[in-house]
Symmetry: C2
Subunit: 288 residues, 2 copies
């Protein structure tokens, strides 16, 4: 617990040397080491409850909706009929909560390796973990790699809600992984993976896109504003086998009524289109 000093939690961050974000702690709600990682839940002064894995903030109640909605609805709404969806990771339940809101989604499989994260979130972060109680969801506790390997052209959309590319998650940014996803995806399916921030990881994003392009014909980077992630900005890599697919124009539009009813706090069709628009210094590196 050396990351908490004088009432403040300091993010431990190998990827972002020289900068640090911290949150004032009201109460430590839970702390354990699971078989896979260090799990910490805090009640913070300003951001509601926060889930921290291996010293890195995964989500806070204040701003998690931006990430969860965007990683879900960018690929779902870019697809004409996202009937069958796979979520890899996402142990807090927030992505499942969003994915099942899409009216065309019939069936969701989620593979998460660490059951302890799920149990902790059910207990302390029910606003996210509510995703686990959907009748559309089939939750499997297993290694995502093993599961995906055995799927053959099964899914319309595959969302990889992973942590950053340090430690075990590094494998989720390789061509081997993207090639496996292609095998598990229907021919017109779309993948969406957490893609890093253009402010600090442009080289990493470039490499990930290059890895992804070996298996997919259309690969795009989109982004959102999430204050508690480093630099306050995070991206998503979307890809599909066919070339020149336009992810930017949503195939499905949530009406204002539906947005209200389904409690979409961030995502709408205009935000969808805007998410693919990049600053010049990013365009220059990534193209497009």
């Amino acid at each position: 617990m050396e990351q908490i000093k004088e009432g403040w939690f300091y993010e431990n961050n190998e990827l972002w040397h020289g900068e640090r974000f911290s949150l004032e702690v009201e109460e430590i709600l839970h702390h354990q080491k699971s078989f896979y990682q260090d799990i910490l839940v805090l009640r913070t002064k300003s951001h509601g409850k926060a889930l921290i894995l291996d010293g890195i903030i995964q989500c806070t109640e204040k701003d998690e909706f931006s990430y969860q909605e965007m990683i879900s609805f960018l690929p779902l709404c870019a697809h004409p009929n996202p009937s069958k969806v796979l979520i890899v990771g996402g142990g807090d339940g927030g992505v499942a909560r969003e994915v099942v809101k899409h009216p065309l989604v019939k069936e969701v499989v989620q593979v998460e390796i660490d059951e302890d994260v799920i149990e902790v979130c059910k207990k302390y972060l029910p606003s996210m973990a509510q995703g686990f109680s959907s009748p559309k969801l089939n939750l499997k506790i297993c290694d995502g790699f093993e599961y995906i390997k055995n799927c053959s052209h099964t899914f319309d959309v595959i969302i990889t809600d992973s942590s950053d590319p340090i430690g075990p998650a590094v494998n989720l940014y390789t061509n081997d992984y993207f090639e496996m996803l292609r095998g598990a995806l229907k021919p017109d399916g779309i993948i969406c993976s957490q893609g890093g921030t253009f402010w600090s990881q442009l080289e990493h994003i470039k490499n990930t896109i290059a890895n992804c392009k070996k298996s997919f014909g259309t690969v795009k980077y989109a982004w959102s504003s999430v204050p508690t992630y480093p630099t306050g900005q995070i991206g998503f890599i979307l890809a599909t086998v066919k070339e020149n697919v336009i992810f930017e124009r949503p195939q499905f539009v949530f009406t204002p009524n539906k947005i209200e009813l389904l409690q979409l706090k961030y995502y709408n069709s205009n935000i969808h289109e805007a998410a693919f628009i990049l600053p010049n210094f990013v365009k220059k590196e990534l193209g497009g």
Copy 2:
């Protein structure tokens, strides 16, 4: 200098309780108290040099271009002929550097109250302070309020590059100030002011817009990603006297060649349009 501890600078932040951003310090380049404020320049480990006024990060070399380009080109490119421009504040020179790049800008007046900030930036942050050497610029060291009061329908665009609404800058968010700006603006002129972040200051933004609407017929909020500002997101209030003016569609478009030549690292016409698109939770509060 109690904000620097064990080699890290911790932002002192009354407006953002419970969260804190910090930068690792390589060297303290300058520290003084001017008549108006505490001025600190650091060489940081990851963000180049940083200017800090009264304990709050104003800009770092790594990401300042996003703020400076957006606060300048959103109003300039929304105007069909922004010939005469007033900059209020902006003592680091970054806004002047951008404003003079616009080919239709003929004359720029800048009023900054604290000459010491300008001198410090000329010495330590020449990449920003280069704005001061433009022949288009007429720099005046004086109180912006006093200057504006005596202008009558003089400017096409007025940019207020101010600090956050604590301390003296609080006056720059009142109706009195907006009313003064209206008096100094040509009838079809556009103002643009630093507008705060929707993640933490939504109530403040709402109030500012309400104050602004008492003097202007069209008032809009646009935003950009700036990692070293709290929440990593900052907004701009644009306004003009006439109702139903479309700021979203730029009147002037920088070609890819011009973007390269003028070293625009963030702003382009697509970014301009996207900047006005808001997440649902913001739209709900601000309308539009």
